[in-house]
Symmetry: C2
Subunit: 556 residues, 2 copies
């Protein structure tokens, strides 16, 4: 297997052998390569700072929904290590091509496209897609490189090197609707002068595994496990947006700049409304973003004229651009989601950033037109747009706002940490900054006791899951023996549930070590002070997990 | 003696006894109070974060030029501890009033003025000075509170809570031309809802000292030492702006965004030009800013119509708004200085921030009109103005610029660290961020050897000097026994040169400890990487003091 090492300064592409049995992939590959080649004190956008893209260990196989792509480097948003991953079709193709990672340093003065196929990898001029928004750019790239390619691309936000900029991956409908959202991975790619990566897996086939029979058997067990998970059906029929009701009911739906935990107008945003609108307009619930998907969680949303608006209208987006801005209009939220997909912006960070502007009178809750207008400012690259596009912490800094819903500079997502104290611990401690996928803790949410232990366990297994390329909604990190059997058979190694957990621990150790060298130590492992003093209605909970206990999370 | 403890939330003013023999003042008082009452993890602009103003140990006495005022707290610019001091007349008055410090917490919803006189301290509505620029606001305050007051005030930048905002102190001409410039102390004061402090020392007299005769004798010795220092005459006749030639000659004059160390058009900026213009227009060199000044270093600059433009047109300003922006027109620089004084902006930080905009095509070197226009944007509080007014690091972050002339978020001043490697070590390591007063190291400037030791020595004695209220240009930190005799006699304690040095060490220990708790550790004690790789013409030096050696600086 191979990794591509690319220096954008001289356009050199080196294909290096990568030992098959070095079981790092996805987020683990980013941790591994940054530990080896990263410069923790370098500026995130400097030529020296590596940008890395890596499919997971199971990519390109028949393992169910195993094609998530990880992107990472040093984050311009947090100043620390960053991995963000996305679904879509590219991971599967890179797996088939037996490519384990792409590591890019240097900086090209002219925008480039990296073309990867069975013959190798080459850099070509990006040409007229420079400055284009994502849907149009992808259409152009398909004209140029063929209909069957997968595309990894940055939008104008990434070109502008905004600290809140994403990398989009095209889905099964060829739409750039799958985004590695958090931490400004788009700016990392943009800083290299790389506009897109196109991947063509023609003349390849699925990886069958070194022990093909055992692998097939392990995959069957995994598929069965996923199919038997009752949550699968919920996500399939209602989408992740079911959480508008779930979190609204338990008081953990960020509303009006994280000042409330329930939104009185949530009906306008909830899944039932989405389903009704979709039924009337031709939209669909329950679509897949990558080959081999069993869960199929994603809604495709249409407007009242029956035209496609956006794909993958997820809970985090609806909560942060809806409830957190006091907006109850799903059409408006869907339009904003599309604009964020076009520009390459993380919707969580945008929702947090516009939300804090209420503190200085620059945004009235519920003013959907103003929120949409702010996103257009980002499109224009105006100073105001650049501020908002630089994330919530920088927005707050520029406007002298001292109540910032962020950890390590990254905006707090849509499961309120005061009413969900286990998530709160994850937000506080994840080396990635406040991240809703870094360690989901649902148990006993209002009780501070035991949350550090729970968060530790979840962060370890979630990290390891992020190494495999498996979608979180396989929930296979809960049955690591099922998951480990696939890896063991694919690579023909001894690899157990214990190895899976140890991989997760090692990843967190590496991420934390990078952060410490970058100047981000345990002092940064905390929620903002106001979350410990300001109660969140309706639970009126404050975050009260003792900091001393939180500071023990990484003692493992 | 007393300290005033004020809670702006309930307007409570408590006068607390402060032990006369606790020998902390100025910067040491800030370190002491922040160590005791500060919350290193709190947001710098939060109500919980204390803002402190303190005159030095020798304030209100006949000790020569001993009236510098220190201001500090947690910096919105660096995120660490911050002390910035300024000359002017307020320190002397607070000393006469036997006030050792003012510590302010909380936040007033309406802007206040703190009135201090022999009868006590009261908070009053700021009334119509809110939003006013500094000169007009000071005129109003003199109408309101009498002609003999000293004024400590924030301009619109501090009201806007910009991370680059200063606190002005009125000088002997009642002009708000003396600024505690660095690190956003104006925003700290603004975050409390405090627009100004007016100090009236009527019915007080000079502090004579517990051992009055010994003190008188010690002061005489100090005066003599200052008078015999040859540098005094240079600064008196040429101003600090003499460094335009000194630094230009040795290649350490930051020019065009820190890309050159000499400016071919420096003649337009140098002291001789300033003197010629002043002679022709009625301006003056060599004025004093505070009572008891012997050095008298400050120019007062007039325009071609014979009208006052600005007072205290110093080297750092001329270099950073002149050479660093490729501007060779002293009139333009003087106008910008005045605008920065009016708005309450640090000229070093503004010069750095506008300079980096050249990297993204938003500023052409030499375009004085554009530079002036950018400062007006800050006055207007436009998004672009707020970006620039938030300092160089945030400006760079918002525009995706990865070559940032800053340490710990604070812009690098006008003695280039590559051609002056001892200053470079000071910039890298000072707990205050890149600071030209934190430790001046002139010896053997291009040789990396020995600079860490020199910088350590200078940082220690400079810190201690900042505790006394003495102006740096007394150079009494070089003869600590002379200085210590004054303190010993004033407070009637045993206090030697060794105690002076130990005070400096303890201050640096406290500052560093605060920073570490705030999440700023030794990883932040470094110059930007590009200063180690990009040679600075004309010396073509890179910064090559080994980082391992730098990391030992605080081992004392």
């Amino acid at each position: 297997m191979s990794i591509l090492k690319i220096d954008m300064s001289n356009k050199e592409v080196i294909v290096e052998d990568f030992p098959r049995d070095n079981l790092v992939g996805g987020r683990a590959m980013i941790d591994y390569l940054l530990t080896k080649h990263g410069i923790p004190t370098a500026h995130p956008l400097s030529p020296e700072a590596p940008f890395i893209a890596a499919p997971g260990l199971l990519a390109g196989t028949s393992a169910p929904q195993s094609g998530r792509m990880s992107f990472g480097g040093k984050s311009p948003l947090t100043g620390g290590i960053k991995e963000a991953n996305a679904g879509g079709t590219a991971g599967d193709k890179l797996g088939r091509l037996e490519i384990r990672a792409i590591m890019i340093v240097g900086k090209s003065t002219k925008w480039q496209v990296l073309k990867i196929n069975a013959e190798g990898a080459t850099l070509e001029s990006a040409g007229d897609i420079v400055g284009m928004e994502n849907y149009a750019a992808c259409a152009k790239l398909r004209q140029r490189y063929g209909e069957k390619i997968s595309i990894i691309i940055i939008g104008p936000a990434g070109e502008m090197k905004l600290a809140n900029s994403t990398i989009a991956v095209t889905d099964l409908d060829d739409r750039p609707a799958r985004h590695a959202g958090r931490g400004g991975v788009g700016a990392m790619m943009g800083a290299k002068g790389l506009k897109a990566i196109v991947v063509d897996s023609a003349d390849t086939s699925l990886r069958k595994g070194v022990d093909a029979d055992a692998f097939k058997k392990a995959v069957r067990a995994a598929v069965e496990t996923i199919q038997n998970n009752p949550v699968r059906k919920v996500f399939n029929s209602l989408g992740t947006n079911v959480c508008i009701d779930v979190d609204g009911d338990r008081g953990s739906l960020p509303t009006r700049n994280h000042r409330h935990g329930a939104f009185e107008n949530r009906k306008g945003l909830c899944s039932n409304t989405m389903i009704e609108l979709n039924n009337a307009r031709g939209g669909t619930m329950g679509t897949a973003c990558m080959p081999g998907c069993i869960v199929k969680c994603s809604p495709i949303f249409y407007d009242s004229d029956g035209n496609h608006v956006t794909s993958a209208l997820e809970y985090e987006t609806v909560a942060m651009l809806g409830a957190n801005l006091g907006i109850d209009n799903l059409d408006s939220v869907a339009r904003m989601d599309r604009r964020c997909d076009e520009l390459g912006l993380d919707t969580i960070e945008v929702g947090c950033a516009i939300g804090v502007l209420n503190d200085v009178g620059l945004f009235e809750f519920g003013d959907a037109a103003k929120a949409e207008a702010y996103i257009e400012e980002i499109a224009q690259g105006s100073p105001m747009g650049r501020i908002i596009g630089s994330g919530v912490t920088q927005t707050a800094n520029i406007f002298g706002i001292d109540r910032i819903p962020a950890v390590k500079g990254q905006g707090i997502p849509a499961h309120a940490g005061r009413s969900l104290k286990g998530w709160g611990v994850t937000y506080a401690t994840s080396p990635q900054g406040a991240d809703h996928t870094a360690g989901v803790v649902e148990d006993d949410p209002l009780n501070p006791v035991g949350q550090v232990t729970r968060s530790r366990t979840e962060q370890i297994s979630m990290a390891a899951l992020d190494a495999t390329g498996l979608c979180m909604f396989t929930f296979l990190h809960s049955t690591p023996e099922v998951l480990a059997s696939m890896v063991a058979a694919l690579y023909d190694v001894e690899w157990s549930a214990a190895d899976f957990e140890e991989l997760g621990r090692e990843m967190l150790r590496q991420e934390r070590a990078f952060n410490i060298k970058a100047g981000i130590g345990s002092e940064a492992d905390r929620l903002p002070d106001w979350m410990r003093t300001d109660p969140l209605p309706p639970t009126n909970a404050v975050f009260d997990v003792p900091q001393e206990e939180i500071d023990q999370l990484f003692n493992f």
